[in-house]
Subunit: 411 residues, 2 copies
């Protein structure tokens, strides 16, 4: 099946908003075997929208629109798509009641133009909007399908999950099952090289790799009679990929490294504290992003100056003089100080040169020492990272989390 | 002038990469008076690319392509666009030498297919690529213009700045001058309401508002004989907008709030330290993102537990018992403790309930106290923020920076 995704909104063409809907929808459609041939963005212009719907509808089986479902005069997607497909709009009493109820719930008066949102293309399926007033619709006509979704991602994504994905699943006679393999510490091209023979020869399951949030996600998707059947062909493939890639595989769920490590610390009840220099609170902030982390996280220090390293962590002045703030010895002393002071089972220290200034021939920009003291084992890792200041700091934070993961899991 | 932006790359249609180029280019083109009518994404498919170029070229004056300029067989944008316009490709000896020099500089062997990148559309202008091997081109033919840019943003953006923007400027008989007004602490619709009469009646300068990085950017652009002339019409407008909006205007440069505050602290040589609870190191990490901050930043504490607040900052146990960790009194004690301990001129404390758990009727999720102790003045600000955990934390971090700005500037 072939599809085109049409985004509607002048604000996109003025460069006010990035169209993140297209990438999300493409990834979902690919998972369900739909090939996306085009992304198109048009403004709130009836003629150009109508022309686009008509011309792309000729070429593909399904068009998906995002945006233009709101209550204002500018919001014309439903009207234009219905017209282009030759489908009438009729007032739906159920929708009207739901929209009225929504306004009551949020304690606001419903204006007259919101009634516009209660009109439904004849014969279409309604997708409920749990986060706004504009419902979505799936219209089937003459072998073609039009899917109308709202523009704001916080409304669109939940509607896709609750309304559109079940529809896509129904289109398949077979069950679709996906397993994700998340990888950190290996580049995308290396991952692809390592598994390219599998990617190329496999037709069921199919595989695809994505770069997401600083790590790699491998999608393994199978079609079959049941989930159990699908897992029978997915599991050996997942095992093979894990065996080839080794311990760069950190999770078999589609989750970021920091979420994985945060959950690991909470599940295993490992108390931890942090001493960050070049990352400057980035690791603390990332882990604090997870609800419930207070059960294991006591405190963190951003020891940016040498004085802070001495006073807060007891790093000996002589160590700083002899080896410098960015050294294996200082990194070691930072976590020894954390342990003395707080007694946490896990102590993590980071010191490095994020740049652009401060580098030398012996200690170039990107040199970072990460120390991890877990129970009785203290290890210091030396890295040379590339890129600008932000990149060096983000990579250092991610590698620190990855070292923590490996030491806790004994890898 | 009307334009269409065509992105080329199957990875975009598979949902692997978000097309951030379109939003950037649209914003630049709008600044130079070019209306963008369409964004289109097509895969690495010669037929579909050719059809798109031909059909959109009929409707607009300028098409801008991103991607497909690389050395591989899949990279066909230059070939297809030249074909569609009826322009020949010829080997350019200057380009060949430059590409060879690039490979020498990065110490890699140039492969045979890189020669493909030295072919140039006849009569086109070359735009140099400072960050990769693929040059860009501007082709003018029969009153239409095609602009060919590389796909990776780190190559595309510098090429637009050094090659495409000068071309856009030349197209104007007049000089174009832009001033940005950055605003924090007021929603986009309130900003628009406050200045909508100016936006609607002005034709030169023109105004547009953008939401960027948690704050608002207002663009004021004038056309005229010279920059001095332009500033004569821009300045009264900027003054009027500043007068209307008041101290929510933080900068007349296009910079984020954290960059503005970081520079302010460095320029005024104000030593500072931080005590973060719910933001968990986010403020520290943001400010450490700026090179040179070590001249004023000594240390930060992520005092997540009550014990950490007592031990690191000397918050009295009785204060925590009487008022709770999220209270005006605790926020005050946090910065008093910082001052006692480090003697920094500026001490900032944040304590709040980020959610989703931990809220009560008296202290709901989103309740955040921000304390700022600058020289002899200590203020505590109470906020009720909305949204999920990440949103509450980010908003709290931004408001803390904004309070710092206002207190330092005496606003």
């Amino acid at each position: 099946m072939k599809a085109a995704i049409i985004a509607v909104g002048t604000e996109l063409l003025m460069g006010k908003v990035t169209n993140t809907n297209a990438v999300y929808l493409s990834s979902v459609l690919n998972e369900y075997g739909v090939s996306v041939l085009y992304h198109i963005t048009v403004g709130d212009n009836p003629k150009r929208l109508e022309d686009a719907v008509k011309s792309y509808m000729d070429e593909v089986d399904m068009i998906i629109t995002t945006g233009g479902l709101g209550p204002t005069q500018d919001d014309l997607t439903k009207e234009i798509v219905s017209k282009a497909l030759g489908v009438e709009l009729v007032l739906d009493p159920v929708l009207k009641t739901e929209i009225q109820a929504f306004f009551k719930r949020i304690n606001r008066n419903m204006t007259e133009n919101n009634i516009k949102q209660a009109y439904k293309p004849t014969g279409s399926m309604t997708m409920e909007n749990g986060h706004g007033t504009a419902p979505g619709f799936i219209i089937e006509k003459d072998g073609k399908t039009a899917v109308l979704l709202p523009g704001p991602p916080r409304e669109m994504v939940p509607m896709v999950e609750s309304g559109f994905v079940p529809y896509l699943k129904e289109q398949h006679a077979e069950e679709i099952t996906t397993v994700w393999i998340r990888v950190f510490g290996m580049g995308e091209s290396s991952v692809e090289d390592a598994i390219q023979d599998i990617v190329k020869t496999q037709t069921n399951p199919t595989l695809a790799t994505y770069v997401r949030e600083g790590s790699i996600a491998i999608r393994v998707t199978a079609n079959g009679a049941s989930e159990a059947d699908n897992m029978k062909c997915i599991q050996p493939l997942v095992d093979e990929i894990k065996a080839r890639l080794g311990n760069v595989v950190y999770s078999l769920k589609d989750e970021t490294l920091d979420v994985y490590v945060g959950k690991l610390l909470m599940e295993k009840k490992i108390s931890f504290s942090l001493a960050e220099s070049c990352t400057g609170g980035m690791i603390a902030s990332t882990l604090v992003g997870q609800s419930g982390i207070s059960s294991v996280f006591d405190r963190g220090y951003v020891t940016y100056s040498n004085e802070a390293k001495q006073e807060e962590l007891g790093v000996p002045l002589q160590t700083l003089i002899d080896h410098g703030a960015v050294s294996e010895e200082t990194a070691r002393a930072m976590v020894e100080g954390l342990r003395r002071k707080n007694g946490s089972r896990l102590c993590v220290g980071v010191t490095g040169i994020a740049g652009p200034g401060g580098g030398s021939k012996e200690k170039p920009v990107g040199l970072v020492y990460i120390s991890v003291y877990f129970d009785d084992t203290l290890k210091v890792f030396k890295h040379n990272f590339h890129g600008n200041r932000t990149r060096v700091r983000q990579t250092a934070a991610n590698f620190a989390l990855d070292h923590v993961r490996k030491m806790i899991e004994g890898k």
